[in-house]
Symmetry: D2
Subunit: 337 residues, 4 copies
């Protein structure tokens, strides 16, 4: 029987070289490092892994490398979404051969499909996949999967869990309450690290968190603290992740901030497949300096030689809050909200 | 039989004095000016008129002054929304006595009510009001009124029209298509001046546009051009309103930009009831200078002595576009969209 | 020195009579009952209390009754928002005389104001109020208060806390992280009962929760469990509140579902000030039957004589999830998101 | 010199066979029919053409077939978006060889990128593409392109126009006002057929409208009427497109309603690549019956033998309006808006 899916799975970035091609040696080195630092599993071809920016062949290669390098030390949850259900099923077959523990399949993207279409899509895959399937709900990027649909899909044995990146705490509770009675073994993973402690307390088995690719020691510790019932300590650590996460998420287009963080831990991530303007290149240098200061506070790296500014800890957040207010204003002016 | 509601009705600001009290002489002078400049009607207690920031007694006083000063020269559409249906009906009775042509009643605000509640609210008013009622749909600020609800409400004789501030062109077409067959006389007014020409072309009888309180000559001309079939000329004028509107709408919290515009036309608008910070007071001076330059281009005022900057015509707009993009990003990150 | 603001404050409904007028005896009886059942404080004129649907005089009367009846047994947090800053300050003065512990002031509503305007509004009040002020952030109904603004406002001694009804867990953490270092005594209360346990764990001093007006015993117990470190028990109870809350919130326009719940606990809430259609009246009977079944499970009332249906526990939620998906689709079709 | 891009370009569906593979003979037959019916150009690999659901090789094949079959009779605007800028540039090269007039490139999707990233992406393509590029703004599905970014991109000679599917009339005016002074030849096409007349009146050179794949005669006639200055007739026709469009857009997930419409015009569209549930298959039969009735009113097909129901013309629209209201309510409850 395959191992339980539990703990922190890292949706890792894919190191590239100077031409933007997959840097296999660096990817293998990064996989080793993540396992050494205590992640419970690996998750290639997630949103952090920029699956959308690779060709179908490249996506296969990435999973092959990761499964090969992990070599059974930790389970691999392989992102398997392709352009259609048929091609996704072919990817499932391939990843089963590669030895992945399960696949994670994002809901159809680009078009926003209705719940019935989302159901039909996953149903077709569930009936044909030779490998366990976890649903991947990320409403910011793809068609949302709602509670009713999850409950219907939980009736397929092949579907064993859901990774939810909405960060919506009551939504997670509603899912768990709707599915657990009919599928006690169904796995709930949160993709929103800022609420990892609450999500674990309310019954999630783990998380798939981009931040674990930068500070795997901390997410592991946070998980262990919750499991040990040391809630206050876990919550303190949860607070400490806030600044790091916000800086990586809001200072650059996702997932560039996380790629910058991985670099600071000693890995070359190479040339991004998404072009950057001059201004963005300069911003990234500034971002990385702030990141270095934050990581230095944790003791993972040394502080920049030129020193660290006093961080208010909320510059990015405030900017976001202000634009949120402004745009709601604008949307209302346009008569939409 | 009362006159048809048609043309441009001005949802005017209310001049205040230095203590923030109603400046009656200035309001009377402003009413005269608007009528002289060709507006087809007056609309006190609209959103531009900050009805929400006055007491019930003050709202009555404003309508009384406007009706008295208009003295039948143009019809008055009086905003009559109060805290409850009962009090709104009392306001309707009062405004009928004052000689208003009709009242405009905004959908319930603060709470966002479902269509059935919106229907029940207006139904109660329609059955009791002694004066014609126009619905006021402004989804950016109040509970939206949808097509099905409008059609149901159009069955009440007392309800004679709708003022729609959504600016949504297809929505207006859907309303007209749904209501005209059962109520050929139903009046559709647009509250979004940027699409005034298209709205008139597709069948609206007029508009209630804040900008007409600043440049009543232009909105009147635009209306007359469309009626005369001079579409190209009307569209050219429509384009010219774009910058003026955007600057007044997006450079300050509504309706402060319009109050600044009215001042430039020679009226004292007084101390705003919404407090301003130091920074905002400075910004308002800058806004007014830009406004003066725009109005000078139209020949309504002389340019500032210190000269005018080269206007790209889109600073405000771009800021809005960028924050819109950013906040959608943020909302998605938060798992909502 | 005034007592600390801590624990569960009930934003209570206001019982009305058959004409929709304040039912003072029933309000007094309800206040007694809430105190007997263990609420830590009372919060008249909140959103649950429909402050917007009362006249300024009625709002004063409500606070006077509640302060008088509480008679010092529990502190009163009085909603004091009026049409303008000036009138709000007058209400603060009045409520200080009535013996309220503090006032809660909602951010300006109807217009969506920018952060700078929100700051200027509260600043003016903070400088003039003779009574402690808590900010009230409820972005679903009023202008949002962002982290930067809260931090700036926390510099005024008169502002002693914030009640946040966004339910956004990371937002609460960001606020606490930004304000605690400069104001260790600043009070954070959550208005979103579905995340009460997580919010208490991350440092909130309490909550202002509409559900506490229906099941005050449970919110008190939940609070006590968290304080006693019995997290698992607290979380179990948190789950049990989910269905009750969802049914009251999503089965009718807010706060009618809560009014229906209060009735089941033995209080006459009277005729709503918001008109209801025939269909809504029938729906409300159905809603109340479901509510009775849920409350019977808790042992607070007996089950309906006609029996209870099997509840899936998620009918309302699914409907909401589906419409959310559909409307996002629609908004995208309209080119907004 | 290549022909001007002007008129109605059809973003056409791709006929499939029973296995979901490209049905080349039917695609060729459909191309001939569209040209015969008067479309000004063809637009393969648009959103209507489900580009996202084909492999890179299939996308090339589609463009090759369309260019070959069009054989210079009308220009081809080929959708060229691939996973990365590099691969998109390769597609540009290929489509230049195939004889496409220009390519249309959708803004990066899945991730929502900031304006600077959108700029950098198109800049890289503009510098390398051997074929004219039109930007494709479809904010409902992909990263939005704002006015400032369009203006910056209009400085690249290779970028010759924009296709905007936002349907936002003032936004189109802002774009035109910002770009025309620096690039008088820049082409603006609207992708929102419900506002085609207004968009043409304000200066758009044409449209890329899915509805033209179902009723090419009507969109052509509408275009010709506007050009001939017969605005009232054009507007009447614009109204008649409303019901047809709404039914095709809102009765099924996009673009299935348009595929159903194309079938009624005599083409086999085959098995959709997006799986359908049983319920959806039944709904599609119902949808097609309604569509047949609408198309019969236009005289394009005969009415169904079983007769047509009385159409209120707004069932779909109302449903959308109601869910919009409901979900805004829900979003607010969740503290987001």
């Amino acid at each position: 029987m395959p191992a339980t899916i539990e703990g922190i799975f890292t949706p890792h970035v894919v190191p590239l070289d100077d031409q933007g091609n997959i840097n296999e040696p660096e990817l293998r080195r990064y996989v080793d490092w993540l396992i050494d630092k205590g992640v419970h599993g690996l998750y290639p071809n997630g949103s952090t892994g920029e699956f959308i920016r690779f060709s179908p062949e490249e996506r296969r290669r990435i999973v092959r490398i990761v499964c090969d390098q992990a070599a059974g030390r930790v389970p691999v949850l392989a992102g398997a979404a392709e352009a259609t259900a048929r091609e996704t099923i072919e990817a499932c077959e391939t990843y089963a051969e590669y030895g992945a523990r399960a696949v994670a399949i994002v809901s159809p993207y680009y078009y926003r499909l209705c719940p019935e279409s989302v159901y039909a899509y996953f149903r077709e895959i569930a009936l044909a996949s030779p490998i366990d399937v976890t649903l991947y709900n990320i409403p910011m990027f793809a068609s949302p999967i709602d509670v009713a649909t999850i409950r219907r899909l939980a009736e397929f044995e092949r579907i064993v869990g859901i990774k939810d990146s909405s960060g919506d705490v009551p939504f997670m509770m509603r899912m768990i309450q709707a599915v657990r009675p009919i599928r006690p073994d169904f796995v709930f993973l949160t993709g929103w690290e800022l609420v990892l402690v609450p999500m674990l307390l309310l019954g999630c088995q783990g998380g798939t968190n981009a931040i674990s690719g930068v500070v795997p020691e901390l997410t592991r510790k946070l998980f262990d603290l919750v499991r040990a019932g040391q809630i206050a300590e876990a919550m303190t650590l949860q607070y400490r992740l806030l600044e790091l996460f916000d800086v990586m998420l809001y200072s650059a287009d996702f997932p560039e901030g996380f790629r910058a963080g991985v670099e600071l831990r000693g890995f070359s991530t190479g040339r991004s497949r998404q072009p950057m303007s001059e201004g963005q290149r300069i911003d990234r240098v500034g971002l990385q300096r702030v990141l270095q200061c934050i990581l230095a506070d944790f003791g993972f790296v040394s502080a920049p030689a030129e020193g660290c500014p006093v961080r208010t800890g909320s510059i990015e957040r405030d900017r976001v809050a202000q634009i949120t207010a402004s745009v709601v204003h604008e949307l209302r002016q346009r008569g939409v909200l």
